[in-house]
């Protein structure tokens, strides 16, 4: 069974008197362990779709399911989320931030400390466990957020343009490290971005979305072997795929 199954998902917003159609008839599925990215122009409804998958907002039509179960509310034990802004709690250390979701669940302190320390090591921040967010760089904070997203051991990780606020160098490095983490944990990742390069580099499958109202106009399988090095971004094959996606988006009817 696919981990995620989205069928005929639609979302309308009422803005004043007008009704805005953000998503129209979106359907796709994600298999277990896949790294799937949704890419599309700004305002195409990517974030809206992600919020529906996260259970934060409800769809107007159609449905989304995780492991067969309908998503109508946040399911923190099944779905972890990483936002564009790390949104760490400023008064807690890195480790305490990672522990926070487990703390709320009432998980015993020793158990959660162990698990979260291991997660921090996974994202390469063991030495910074006792540091506060303001002492960490943007990239490091996002790593803590990723570790926190993994804390409840969810099946699915949703990532909403997590590297958009970082500079290019850091962004590329984070992408590379994310693939590492993904390989080690075997989670299913659903990633959204408007960077075509990032999408192709990271994913097994790229879903291309049209401008508003958002629809999936194509599903592109990315066949580069793993583990992937950053160099492939410069390859001809990469460029071809990128151009293809670019044209798909540019020529999509608005």
């Amino acid at each position: 069974m696919p981990v995620i199954e989205v069928s005929k998902l639609g979302k309308d917003f009422s803005a004043g008197r007008a009704r805005v159609r953000a998503l129209a008839d979106v359907s796709f599925s994600v298999e277990e362990g896949q790294f799937v990215t949704l890419v599309g122009p700004s305002g195409c409804g990517k974030s809206t779709l992600l919020q529906i998958l996260a259970g934060l907002i409800a769809a107007t039509s159609g449905e989304a399911r995780i492991e067969g179960e309908r998503i109508c509310a946040p399911m923190p034990d099944k779905i972890g989320m990483v936002f564009q802004d790390p949104t760490l709690l400023p008064w807690k250390t890195a480790l305490a931030n990672v522990e926070f979701p487990l703390d709320l669940r009432g998980i015993d302190r020793t158990a959660r400390r162990k698990r979260c320390a291991a997660l921090l090591e996974l994202v390469g921040l063991s030495e910074f466990a006792d540091h506060y967010p303001h002492e960490l760089s943007g990239g490091m904070r996002q790593r803590v957020a990723i570790a926190r997203g993994l804390a409840q051991d969810p099946r699915l990780i949703l990532m909403d343009e997590p590297f958009a606020a970082l500079d290019e160098q850091t962004r590329t490095r984070m992408g590379h490290d994310l693939l590492d983490i993904w390989a080690k944990t075997g989670k299913t990742v659903f990633f959204i971005t408007h960077s075509l390069t990032e999408a192709i580099y990271l994913s097994d499958v790229v879903l291309v979305m049209s401008p508003r109202p958002g629809q999936v106009i194509d599903t592109i399988a990315i066949d580069f072997p793993r583990p992937r090095e950053v160099d492939i971004i410069g390859s001809e094959a990469f460029g071809r795929i990128r151009n293809r996606i670019w044209h798909l988006i540019a020529e999509a009817p608005a």
């Binding site: 946040p74 923190p76 989320m81 400023p90 926070f100 709320l104 967010p133």
Partner: protein, 252 residues
């Protein structure tokens, strides 16, 4: 370092001596300004009575602080949670705050008598408004992303309020807590001065009518000690919370 301490002490001693001289030499009337020796004398004569009054006032202030903080913070958090509620409540609170609350004391006197209860109630009234107003501001200022985050990890409403909203609002609250607590202290002491059965304010008034200026000043000193102690406590709190503020600003 030692030299600085010695210097400070020397200056203080000199100031004391000058003060004593000014009164003894009748440069300022004894009735208006009490010499340090008079104050010490007053302390020696009636130290016990004053200490008892100090305790009474402290208890009143303590009770009023606890209640004012609780009411102010709870109302502030509730009103601040909704944009409309905050927009409706804050202006009203702000306008009422402009009223000289002291004129309500005679009403409290008539309703509750001149014992500790009316002082505590007045103290709560005095401190409530700045605390509530600042808490509303603090809660409104919390960015939406924290609330979205709270929902995404499945936090209950209570957990969201207690573990996320409250700490995030704390730096903004603290200035309200400072002002409000200061007003509680003043409120209690002043109403004791106006009409009371006991307490520091009462003693200050009582001795004024007898022109025992030494006692009056001793009482004022004790009231100042109380005010300074509360202030130190608040500064400590402010500093601890200030660390959060710094971190929050850096987090961005």
């Amino acid at each position: 370092m030692q030299w600085r301490i010695i210097k400070a002490f020397a200056i203080a001693a000199a100031a004391m001596a000058l003060w004593e001289a000014v009164v003894r030499l009748d440069l300022v009337s004894q009735i208006i300004l009490a010499a340090p020796s008079h104050i010490v004398l007053a302390a020696a004569q009636d130290g016990g009575v004053f200490l008892h009054a100090f305790a009474t006032t402290s208890i009143e202030i303590g009770a009023a602080i606890v209640i004012a903080w609780t009411l102010g913070i709870v109302l502030g958090v509730v009103a601040g949670s909704s944009h409309t509620l905050a927009a409706a409540t804050a202006p009203v609170l702000s306008s009422i705050f402009a009223i000289p609350l002291i004129i309500l004391y005679p009403l409290l006197m008539a309703w509750l008598g001149i014992g500790p209860l009316s002082k505590v109630v007045f103290g709560v009234l005095s401190g409530f408004f700045p605390i509530a107003l600042n808490t509303i501001d603090g809660v409104r200022a919390i960015e939406r992303r924290y609330l979205v985050f709270a929902r995404s990890i499945g936090a209950t409403k209570f957990q969201t309020y207690a573990r996320i909203i409250f700490p995030l609002a704390l730096p903004a609250m603290i200035s309200g807590l400072r002002v409000g607590t200061g007003l509680v202290v003043i409120g209690v002491v002043v109403t004791e001065m106006l009409a009371s059965l006991g307490g520091i304010g009462y003693l200050i008034s009582y001795h004024r009518t007898l022109f025992n200026t030494g006692h009056v000043y001793f009482g004022i000193m004790l009231a100042l000690v109380m005010s300074v102690a509360v202030n130190i406590g608040l500064t400590w709190l402010d500093r601890r919370i200030g660390l959060w503020r710094m971190r929050e600003q850096a987090e961005g």
